[in-house]
């Protein structure tokens, strides 16, 4: 938690981070930065605050500015607070060709927010993102670790209700739901 409490990884996360750092040659522990930022984002309310980035820097023994430099480059890292469920709808060609715009505008109406905004209850943030590699099962959206494919507006409604009733924060690092192959 970042609201006044000490910023520190859980014991499990810290052990995982330390294992990760051993994947690289000695002195190259900065290589673990992106995976570690994913863990930090999941553990500290879904976004990377200044103090969280400073903490990650201290764990990896690098400068805070190196963490910010990297974190600010990648679209999956949130540098501002987000809702518990970040709904990311793919907007690129293959999804657009089969109705991504409708999925986006439907979600805007349903959640009563625009793309980029968060609902007032802090439950949902809506994002439109570039190609997620699910073009054959378009339109699609990602929430946390899960890909939701072959979307219809009904399917979107059902999913939003499900997320709302669960009320849980969704992270990329979550265990994904089992998928039908």
């Amino acid at each position: 938690m970042t609201n006044g409490k000490e910023i520190k990884f859980s014991d499990d996360s810290l052990a995982l981070v330390q294992r990760m750092m051993k994947r690289y040659p000695e002195g190259k522990q900065k290589s673990a930065l992106i995976p570690v930022l994913h863990i930090a984002q999941a553990e500290f309310d879904g976004w990377l605050s200044g103090p969280v980035m400073e903490y990650v820097a201290s764990v990896l023994n690098i400068l805070p500015v190196e963490v910010f430099e990297t974190a600010s480059f990648y679209s999956m890292f949130n540098l501002k607070p987000v809702g518990k469920c970040v709904i990311e709808v793919c907007r690129t060609s293959s999804c657009w060709l089969v109705g991504a715009e409708d999925v986006i505008s439907h979600l805007e109406k349903k959640l009563n927010i625009k793309v980029g905004q968060t609902t007032s209850d802090g439950m949902f943030t809506l994002k439109s993102v570039e190609c997620l590699g699910s073009c054959g099962t378009a339109p699609m959206m990602q929430v946390g670790a899960d890909y939701y494919e072959n979307l219809t507006l009904d399917k979107v409604d059902t999913l939003v209700e499900k997320f709302r009733s669960e009320g849980k924060r969704k992270s990329y690092t979550d265990k994904a739901e089992p998928r039908k192959l």
Binding site: F77, S93, S94, G136, L151, R179
Partner: protein, 446 residues
């Protein structure tokens, strides 16, 4: 039915697990390579196979491997590029999710050939759940003696790690990928030096696409000569094609190189024809970066020959009338598609994904997106179309990495083949705005 090398077992229940994969001949290439071949002999088989990089560039894999510098006492790295981000491409995700051990097996065999003792699979962050599938497969491979010290009792040892990215198309460019793997921003490096000389941590490095690495398995098992018999000309072997857009059967198909495009689009074995019986308007054959072709030119070359799914046939006619096989991201557009709006969609993508290092790309991609938006909005002029042409011509070839070209080619080809449509937007903005120029989900039948 074409020959399948990579996806021949993808329908077998439980093939994701080590046991089932092994029962179906899995890890035979590692056994063969480590116990009966020298590393050089493996490289030789890959050279003979004629395998070309499956990520998009199509560079001969054996040649890339032979460029790897081998200074004494310096570590060498094999890095698998699983950053699959080219719009329209999803074959690597399919392969990794369904047959994860095929990639692990290929990584071990290829790492042996290159003399690497630490290898990495760099996978795009959005594929987090796939990275866990790979991690499970790697753990199984360690438990069964295919990774770690003295693999299967030989002198060869290898550690293999999965590394996730965090959302950046540019990290599919190999030097940007290496920067990202080092924990930095994904800014492509100036070449030379090429990764074969100075790659990961400044050490000699080979970066290969998922499908390229997977193809090493059948090449070692059956021999490079056998692999080279499949396909056509210098396009040997099979290729995974990601088919999407307005077709009846989107999905990943393994094709023998040389399959006619017309058969690929219309036969029941592959795409199953255009959705709703509508007419074909255009195809982007190799991922968003390659030139778009109108129906007549994708089905037949300018000389009237049937266009084939191969590096050479798709490129026939150069950029004037041809395109590229690229990553095999095959996006099909029916007659209802607005080429102008699709181009705006692509240009927005490249603007969003430009790393910002080179001015022509950083500024040009944003400029093109804005001009296209102005045209779509009904405020464009004929001069804007010429301006677009001018901007793209000043990006192409003028940037550190190929993202600049990738942003320029869709614009150039759309104007080249569909200029009249741009002019319609300019001359009759009102009527165009009234047209439903994109699919509406409510009307689409699922």
């Amino acid at each position: 039915m074409g020959k399948k090398l990579l996806l021949k077992n993808d329908h077998i229940s439980g093939i994701q697990s080590y046991e089932v994969y092994r029962q179906n001949g899995g890890y035979a290439s590692v056994e063969k390579a480590l116990k009966t071949m020298t590393p050089e002999a493996v490289v030789e088989e890959v050279k003979k196979s004629g395998l070309r990089g499956r990520g998009g560039a199509g560079f001969p894999c054996g040649m890339k491997w032979s460029f790897l510098a081998k200074p004494e006492g310096v570590a060498r790295y094999l890095v698998c590029n699983a950053d699959e981000s080219e719009p329209g491409t999803f074959k690597d995700r399919y392969l990794m999710e369904r047959i994860p051990h095929l990639l692990i097996e290929g990584m071990i065999t290829a790492s042996y050939a290159l003399g690497c003792s630490n290898s990495y699979i760099y996978i795009r962050g959005e594929y987090f759940y796939v990275s866990r599938i790979l991690e499970n497969a790697i753990a199984e491979a360690y438990a069964n003696g295919w990774l770690g010290k003295n693999i299967q009792g030989t002198n060869y040892s290898l550690d293999l790690h999965v590394q996730v990215g965090a959302g950046a198309y540019i990290c599919g460019e190999e030097t940007a990928l290496l920067e990202s793997l080092e924990g930095k921003r994904g800014n492509p490096r100036i070449k030379p030096p090429f990764p074969a000389i100075a790659g990961l941590y400044g050490c000699p490095t080979v970066v290969n696409n998922v499908e390229t690495i997977a193809a090493v398995v059948p090449i070692v098992n059956e021999g490079g000569d056998e692999y080279a018999k499949i396909g056509i000309g210098k396009s040997t072997g099979t290729k995974l094609i990601s088919a999407s857009g307005h077709i009846n059967k989107p999905g990943v198909y393994e094709i023998e190189m040389g399959l006619p495009v017309e058969e690929f689009i219309y036969s029941e074995e592959y795409c199953g024809g255009i959705k709703g019986g509508r007419k074909l308007k255009a195809v982007v054959a190799g991922g968003s970066s390659v030139p778009i072709l109108p129906a007549n030119l994708i089905l037949k070359t300018a000389a009237g020959e049937p266009r084939l799914m191969s590096y050479e046939s798709l490129a026939d006619g150069g950029f004037a009338t041809g395109t590229m096989l690229g990553s095999g991201g095959f996006i099909v557009m029916d007659e209802s598609t607005s080429i102008v709006k699709n181009l705006w969609n692509f240009s927005r993508f490249y603007h969003h994904e430009s790393c910002g290092q080179c001015s022509p790309c950083r500024e040009g991609t944003g400029w093109m997106e804005k001009v296209l938006h102005k045209i779509l909005d009904g405020h464009g002029t004929i001069e804007d179309i010429d301006l677009l042409w001018d901007i793209q011509s000043k990006i192409e070839g003028k940037t550190i990495c190929p993202l600049g070209d990738a942003a320029a080619w869709p614009v150039a080809s759309a104007i080249r083949h569909f200029r009249s449509e741009f002019e319609e937007y300019v001359k009759q903005p009102k009527s165009i705005q009234d047209v439903k120029h994109y699919y509406r989900l409510q009307e689409a039948k699922f």
